[in-house]
Structure formats: C-alpha cells, structure tokens
Assembly symmetry: C2
Homo-oligomer: 248 residues x 2
DNA sequence: AGACGGTATGCTGTAGGCAGTCGACGAAAA
DNA sequence: TTTTCGTCGACTGCCTACAGCATACCGTCT
C-alpha cells in the first residue's frame, strides 16, 4: 500500500507551521506510528512521507534521524528508515528501565515535591479517576502519562526527567494497544503514591512506584505473551515494485 | 546453505560501515567538542563547519541535530546550534543518573555475566591498571569508559546499556578535563567490582558500583566547585564576521 | 548625548536536483 | 528446473540554490 493511499483513507492533514517544520514532522510521524497508520517494520520512503505531509524531503530526513535517535525508527544506511519493531524482550527491558527511572524519580519527588507539586498531582489523579469512571480510555492513558511525567519533573533532576520522558514515550507506544484494561487499580496505586510523596516518605514512594510499574509490566507481558510471534519482519526496501495505478 | 543463514547463526558483524558522511561528521564534531576546539556556548555556523570538514551543509545539519538529541549541542530554532554549556547542577544530575543506571547494570551483570564476560572484564581492568602505572591518562580514561560500557553490556538489558552509554558519553565530556587524578583508587574499586560480579553477588556489586560512581561524582564536584562561575554565556548568533577557528 | 528606526548582512530553513547504490527482476547457462 | 549473471528501476545520500528572518550597524530624531 502506498502512503498516499493510506492518506486517502484518513485525513491527510497538512502540517500547520507554528515552529520549524522538522518539529512538526517529528510529531506527525510519531502520531502516525502510535496510531498504527505506520506499522512496525514498514519502510518509510522519504518522498512519500514528504508528499503525505506536504513538505520537502529534507525536513522528513531530519525528523527520521531524530526519531531514530529515540528508538522509533531504525535507520539502515543506504536502505532507508523502517518503523522499529518492538520485540517482546525489548519491551520487557524497556519496562524494566522505566521501573528503574521512575522509582528513583518517586524517591526524589518524595523529598523535593512541595505543596504545589502535590496539589498538581492530586488534580491529575482526580481527572484520571474521572476518566476511568467514564470509560474514557484514551483520556485515562494520556492522564497516566501526564501524572508519571509530573512525578519525574518533581524529582528535581532534569536529566532524569528527560530520560524518563523519552522512555515513557516508547513505553506508551508499546503499551497502548494492550492497555485497554487495568483501569481503576492503577489509579488506586497512584493515589497511594501521592500520599507517600506528600508524607515525604521516600522509601514508601519508591516502593509503591516500583510495584506499580512492575504491575504494568506484568500486565503487558501477560497480554503480549499470548500473542502469536510475528513472522520475521526482515526489512526490505522496495515496497512498491510496480503498480502505479490501482489500489487493489 | 545460504550465506545469509550462516550469518544468522554466527555473529552478524556487518562490514565496518558504509561510512555515511553524517556519521563521520558526528564523530568529528564530538571530537572537536571534547578536545576543546569548540568551546561551550560557541555558535556553530553550519557553513563554517561544512567548509572546515570539507563537506556540504546538509551532513553538518543532520549531525548537529543528532548531537542535539544526545545533549552535546543546543538547537535554537532560527538561531542555530550552540555547544552545550555544562552547568554544575546539570553535571551533578547527570552523574546521579549515571550512578543509578550503572548500579542497576552492575546488579544485573552480577546475575548474568558468564565466565567469558568476567574474563573480558579482567582483561580491561589489567590494561587500565597498566595505563595508570605508565601515566597514560587518556588511555586510562578510555579504558575506564570501556570497562563501564562492558558492565552495562553484561547486564543483558540492551535498552539499559544503550541509555547508560549515552549518559556515559556526556559524563566523559564533562569529566575528562577534571579527571586528571583519582587514578589507582578507581581501579582498585573496579577490581573489587569484578570480584563481586564473578561471585554473582548482586548486592555487593551494586553497592560497589554505587560507591564507585559516587566517588567519581564527589571528585568532580569538588574540583568543579572551586572553579569560578563562568559569565552568562548568552547565545548570540553572529559571533564571527570573519573566519572560524581560532587556531590562528 | 541617548534613543529609535531603517537598512544591510549573513545565517538558518527549505526546496529541488543529481549521482551512487542497493534490491529486484529477467535472461541465459548448467 | 535450478542457479547465476546482467540489467533495470527506485531510493538514498549529498550538493547547490533560494527565501525568510534575526541580528548588528548606522543614520536620524529628540
């Protein structure tokens, strides 16, 4: 299938130009990947993406390289860019790293988060619970990410927060398609976490966060473990041999 | 049997590299930064770098963006690239993150490193000690990085290893100019670390690694703390009506 | 003399184009 | 029929060129 054909099915939203084109293209491609319009292993042809987004190849190239640095796509020299294929093993390792980073963040947040920080945490948590109660899955997932991001921010360590954010984005991509459950239990744990942070109990905060992320990890592995193993997604370049005309 | 099958069974060591120009430029600029030829806060003009390296602006642009993603340079939209200015606070946070990542790596390495891994660790350690004894500071620093990288590799968690490597590169940049001391003590700790890994004692390995990286951190903070604070290096674009390069 | 606006400069961001390279397909030979 | 070589096509990587813009300099006004 051609990218332009995919564009026909969905909204071929041209990118607005608030900032540099590169930034916009990065977000657009991330969105295409997360939403599943670009499937793992798929060959990303620069010219097609450029045409799809209504820009030239250069911003697309630069975006792909930045995305490569963050693990979204794999760049094979001379061959091009391919959407990264999340292995089960890699997902497990990534979730382990997330556990590590966020546990430390929680510990630091318990030390350094002030009243204002706790207040913001409570607000997000309340919104998340409301989202779950109204079956707003996407909203709950987004709020979950926001809350975790806020915890890392409150750690006071910006390097740590940045790294955790980077990892969290990938986690979210891997996790979203299988995160359709584990609704309220997760937010109970969030509440307990905030209590610990408010109390300044770093050990408890770290413990709760560790168990919380491990629950997520277990949930993920359980769900993914039952899936059939994908066939070898060997990256091949030429996705479009002939057939310029018909889609079908 | 196909060659590709053979390649699959053995180590799939690709040919060194098709050596894209971008990769070369990245390494060249990193080297220029580490060596101090490009100073923190300096405005990196694409065309000048291109001329200096004998390439066009495009590979330079792409290199700068990748370097931006790794924290080497800051990219101000519409203004250009500036060599990142390492703050004391940021260095501290970065070293804290390194402690976190490498401690976990050591713990995992104690679990999963086999005899072969321990042997390679011992080899590196011996070389490092030899380098220190012969006052080969650069060699010792390089071997130190290699040893830490090997520990993260032996953790078995590639995501963790990759992240740690990324952090370690920046640490090395920050740390190199002030790492002219702390020679043999560091390698004694390395030896103890390897002993713990060989014994499979994850708690001890983690403890040693934590203390080891904290020693490094303390050493760094002590040395940097005495330095005068640099004046505000406000990024300005047009720094140079003439030529790049200062070696004149 | 100091402040403000106009102009000039050079840099960035983007587009378009060309050569090199890799993979695939087809033909020829065993 | 299977294997191997030659050719073709497409895509990537790189270079060059142009437009937009932010900054710096300078003249003028207050």
């Amino acid at each position: 299938m051609l990218l332009s054909d995919q564009a026909g099915t969905t909204a071929a939203a041209k990118i607005p130009r608030p900032a540099t084109l590169r930034e916009s293209v990065i977000e657009a491609i991330q969105e295409l990947i997360v939403s599943g319009q670009l499937k793992p292993g798929q060959h990303l042809v620069e010219s097609e993406l450029a045409a799809l987004l209504g820009v030239s190849r250069q911003p697309v190239r630069e975006a792909l390289q930045q995305l490569s640095g963050e693990g979204w796509v794999d760049l094979h020299p001379g061959q091009g860019a391919f959407v990264h294929v999340p292995t089960l093993e890699e997902a497990d390792q990534l979730l382990a790293v997330r556990t590590l980073l966020e546990t430390e963040s929680a510990r630091l947040a318990a030390q350094y988060a002030g009243e204002e920080g706790v207040r913001r945490l409570r607000t997000l948590c309340a919104q998340g619970i409301a989202a779950v109660k109204s079956d707003d899955v996407d909203g709950a997932v987004a709020l979950n990410s926001e809350l975790h991001a806020l915890v890392t921010d409150l750690s006071g360590n910006r390097v740590l927060a940045e790294l955790a954010a980077q990892v969290a984005r990938r986690v979210r991509w891997y996790h979203t398609p299988v995160a359709r459950q584990r609704g309220m239990a997760s937010w109970d744990e969030h509440t307990a976490l905030i209590d610990a942070i408010e109390a300044g109990d770093e050990r408890r905060a770290a413990k709760i966060m560790r168990e919380h992320t491990e629950h997520t990890r277990a949930s993920y592995m359980e769900q993914r473990g039952t899936e059939p193993v994908e066939p070898a997604p060997k990256p091949v370049r030429r996705r479009r041999p002939r057939q310029l005309g018909g889609a079908g």
